[in-house]
Symmetry: C2
Subunit: 222 residues, 2 copies
């Protein structure tokens, strides 16, 4: 593979570790699968919103779907508790190998940006809290195009803003649907097989598949 | 509410009972949440496919996502077993109250059609097996427009084919994202609050919400 010049990173689960948020939601719901159900429902409704009509902020869809998850379990969810649980999203730690891997990638001369389904303000808080700000040239949120990933406009927005061709660009993500969208926009892809994540057999096999970011960075820098 | 003239029914879970398929998949996977995970992943990838690019048959996405579900559990899924598990979809029973409720609705003069994300051939097998054929004027599948619900083209396809205005039409479904899409296409909506189904707080409250079809039909016929 000819190496890319621009690396676009997905954020939640890809760079940031949602374990603490997962425990908090599962404990509050009294159900070990609550976080997983919520996160899938959140993604489902983000896609449903972008398929069917106007844009709505990811945080708002997050709140609506958390309410659904609790309702489904027959549990009350008070506004303060919802805000407290969802507040975790701004204060997530990076996965342990991420800072050193990003540093190495940056030092080897790649242009590095993010692209998240989350709102830009929350995303900037995330990067600041996780102390990852210095490694990125630009932070991008889909709110600029008012469509969620994997809509092609979201990837095209980054490609056009950055002035790189799809073939010069690699999306790195832990979500198979994000990989599928980037492939369809013509980008190279790197799949991080984080715990519980599997590839979609309907997509092309990604250019790189590793379990952690440092293994992927090793391939990009040697 | 002014009563609608055309009733459009979603099929899987709304009219047909997936319990037997659920048990079969959970037993084969050795995991009580396997069916639920699969069905959510199936809907997620159907939406991701329609957001990001070309159309793929629902049955094919069903097979790919069942493979993902098993892989995630560290279980092998042989082709024959996948075919056998997915074959349940053509031979589902109706929910117990459905035949009598549809009969009553038909007798009161409503025009009744279906609209499913499934392929038309499979859908016709489903209706024949469940002995529900006689109650419907037309069976519609989204494969005609090559987009999955809740894309507006899917609802518009039925409205244009039938020649009814959105305000004369009610979609009946057990899925909140389907209700959201129909609302955005301007239709009236009836939500069947089947077991485990909850409304999306981001949508408008539906015109009718009942736990079973006969309760909804009662409101439409009195």
């Amino acid at each position: 593979m000819k190496k890319p010049r621009l690396i676009v990173f997905d954020v939640n689960e890809t760079l940031l570790d949602l374990s603490a948020m997962k425990s908090a939601i599962n404990t509050a719901a009294g159900e070990p699968g609550a976080f997983e159900n919520w996160f899938r429902t959140l993604l489902q409704f983000a896609m449903a919103e972008s398929l069917s009509g106007p844009y709505r902020d990811f945080g708002e869809i997050g709140k609506h779907t958390l309410e659904m998850t609790f309702q489904n379990l027959g549990k009350d969810l008070h506004r303060e508790e919802a805000d407290q649980l969802l507040g975790h999203i701004s204060a997530l730690p990076p996965h342990p190998e991420v800072p050193a891997a990003l540093k190495k990638l940056k030092e080897s001369g790649y242009r590095m940006v993010t692209l998240t389904n989350g709102g830009l303000r929350t995303h900037k808080q995330q990067m600041q809290h996780a102390r990852l700000e210095e490694y990125f040239d630009v932070f991008y949120s889909v709110e600029a195009v008012k469509k969620f990933k994997p809509h092609p406009e979201t990837y095209n927005y980054v490609l056009q803003s950055e002035g790189y061709k799809p073939s010069e660009t690699m999306l790195v993500a832990a979500h198979a649907w994000d990989i599928l969208g980037a492939q369809r926009a013509g980008c190279k892809t790197g799949f991080l097989k984080r715990e519980g994540k599997v590839l979609y057999p309907g997509g092309i096999y990604p250019d790189m598949v590793t379990e952690t970011l440092d293994a992927l960075v090793y391939q990009l820098t040697t």
